[in-house]
């Protein structure tokens, strides 16, 4: 979860580090903590620390964490030589470690040697059949090969045991969305909302899925979840504001023919539209005309 303060902190550190202002280790730690994917920068700045013996030894035991981080980043950047060197260093230090074994499997993956990687993972799983990360790697491997249905199968099997693992629910939801299996995705997002009811982004994603599914009931629910996103973000989520407008207009179109028994709160959409206009005025005033045209098209403009 990356909050607003953390995001600004990250971007500040990023510019500082990119301009040679130091603080590379802090930046790398923050990247690790927030679990963001900045592989190119991690590779560059991580190596600059690792290649400097003085800096490296000042890290103490964190040195090995950095090696791991850089190894993964290097794989992500296809700098396989660097990754291999890092893993070699780690292996020398921790000869029997499962974690290093996992890195080796990932290196095989990055090379595209799927069968060998699979073999490595299965042998690791034999030692510890409940290693969550390796199960996840197998899912990722299936996905990387393009066998999305296999990935879903693995993931479902995994979730039968580790059913409280929300990262995997999220992955499953994203896979389902990519396959346009929205009903299944909606289920996954419900699961995510249950496990972390205060994360607005899950509400938002759920609302998106409901809106895509369509139908009067789903649209009304989608509007409710966009509303909850607005409430949880204090009205600072543009996508949710747009969502409210879209839902209202779609509901209006469907409900036109029918009797209007269920009272929709008409104010919410006009408020959302005004909020949007205001936000555009502040941040992108040159695109304001586009917005007003779009809102007019939706007939929600006040």
């Amino acid at each position: 979860m990356v909050s607003k303060t953390e995001e600004t902190q990250l971007s500040n550190l990023e510019t500082q580090v990119d301009n040679g202002g130091g603080g590379a280790w802090e930046y790398l730690s923050l990247v690790r903590k927030l679990k963001v994917r900045r592989s190119d920068r991690v590779l560059k700045h991580g190596l600059s620390i690792l290649n400097d013996p003085k800096k490296r030894s000042s890290l103490g035991p964190d040195e090995w964490t950095l090696y791991e981080q850089v190894a993964v980043a290097a794989m992500d950047c296809q700098s396989l030589d660097v990754a291999k060197d890092c893993i070699k260093v780690l292996q020398k230090k921790f000869p029997e470690s499962k974690r290093v074994g996992r890195l080796e499997g990932m290196l095989l993956e990055a090379k595209g040697a799927w069968t060998e990687a699979e073999k490595a993972y299965s042998s690791l799983l034999e030692d510890n059949p409940l290693d969550q990360v390796i199960h996840k790697r197998r899912v990722a491997m299936a996905k990387a090969q393009g066998n999305v249905s296999v990935a879903i199968e693995w993931l479902n099997k995994y979730l039968e045991i580790f059913m409280a693992d929300h990262d995997s629910w999220r992955e499953l939801a994203e896979i389902y969305v990519s396959l346009q299996m929205y009903k299944q995705a909606a289920f996954c997002y419900e699961e995510l909302i249950l496990s972390q009811p205060m994360v607005p982004l899950y509400h938002l994603a759920y609302a998106d899925v409901l809106y895509t599914l369509g139908g009067l009931e789903n649209l009304q629910n989608a509007k409710k979840y966009y509303a909850s996103t607005i409430d949880l973000t204090g009205g600072k989520n543009t996508r949710a504001l747009f969502g409210i407008c879209l839902c209202s207009s779609a509901i209006g179109q469907i409900a036109k023919g029918r009797n209007k028994d269920d009272k929709e709160s008409p104010e919410l959409q006009s408020l959302a539209a005004t909020a949007l206009e205001r936000e555009y005025k502040q941040k992108a005033s040159d695109k304001l005309s586009l917005l007003t045209a779009a809102l007019k098209g939706l007939k929600v403009s006040s």
């Binding site: 994917r37 190596l47 296809q78 060197d85 990722a140 990262d167 992955e171």
Partner: protein, 106 residues
């Protein structure tokens, strides 16, 4: 934080000193055979000072309060972390490798 901690330690030390001087004072009273009516002024002042320092430390050392409102800047989640356990390397970056001469030297 470190400053608050130092202040706290200092406050506790002051308290110890106040205790010690009161013990001395009681010993003195015993010799002069007077009744103890209350600790001397400087001890009271020391105690007050120590209390103030300790309150300062107690309020600063445990760290700042964190906002519980979901829409505050600290809590407003703007992006989800990359699901790095499911990271795949078979992406378009593979076709465009970085133009970096990176190497792990030893």
């Amino acid at each position: 934080m470190a400053l608050g901690f130092a202040v706290g330690v200092f406050g506790v030390l002051i308290l110890f000193h106040a205790a010690y001087s009161t013990i001395q004072y009681r010993g003195l009273l015993k010799i002069t055979e007077e009744e103890f009516s209350g600790p001397p002024m400087n001890v009271v002042a020391e105690l007050l000072l120590g209390l103030v320092f300790c309150i300062w430390a107690a309020l600063t050392v445990p760290g700042k309060f964190l906002s519980i409102q979901p829409y505050s800047e600290e809590n407003r989640i703007v992006s989800l972390p990359a699901n790095s356990d499911f990271m795949i390397f078979n992406h378009r970056g593979k076709v465009f490798p970085l133009e970096m001469d990176v190497k792990l030297k030893h």
